[in-house]
Amino acid sequence: MTSPDLLNLLPESAIRVNVPAENWREAIRACGEVLAATGAVDPAYIDQMIAVVEELGPYIVIAPGIALAHARPSPAVHRVGFSWIFLEHPVPFGHAENDPVRMVIGLAAPDPQSHVQALATLAELLADEACRAQLLQADTPAEVRRVVRLFAERKACAEASHLSASGGNS
């Protein structure tokens, strides 16, 4: 069974650019509010996202400038969902190497499985330096989505040609 892909889980309404935040708490709160506005979670989830960092530290800063904010599956999670916010000014999360944070990715996961495919695409997208630069420069949510869509199409295309190539050899 395949889980929903990233683009389906990331409508324009789940993306915000030039978001003001003074500190990491405000940044996660802003990201969580967008996630709640999409209907994926109740507002209670926002405090749970903040509590994770209070309890376990800034390990959620998964790459330079990028934080993946989420909490455990809980009754506050209605369905799998993402929110992406780009901060107007980067803020420190207290991470020794990856601070300051410019992009906060909110993740709502009702179980350990349904977000796997989208997360895999997200990881590949963020690993692509050109895509990451385009994302950080985007002025509108539509432009952010366009970067994700082009990347997903390129990936599908590469996989299709790989499949047909290996099919031709067998």
Partner: protein
């Protein structure tokens, strides 16, 4: 060989780590069973693991474990994972 990817909740960064470990293993031509664990159960599961992959912050919370621990700074940088995994596999 069993590798444990340890994160806070067991479903965000830990999943990313597992995906990266699997890609890195493929690159290195090695095979291993890769499991995700949250920090709450990681210490218990670490007893049967050969290698633990996590972050610096979470490694400090892991306590004493028999398995070798490698810490990853950039979860989307496959080169970092390949380099650290190769070193750990060569040393063990």
């Amino acid at each position: 060989m069993k590798i444990l990817a340890v994160c806070g909740m067991g479903l965000g960064s830990g999943l990313l780590l597992r995906m990266q470990v699997e890609k890195a293993l493929q690159r290195l031509g090695r095979q291993a069973e890769v499991e995700v664990a949250d920090i709450g159960i990681a210490h218990a599961l670490a007893r049967t693991a050969d290698l633990i992959v996590t972050t610096k912050e979470l490694a400090e919370r892991l306590g004493d474990v028999r398995a070798r621990v490698i810490t990853i700074t950039n979860f989307v940088d496959l080169e970092e994972m390949v380099r650290k995994l190769r070193e750990a596999l060569e040393a063990s």
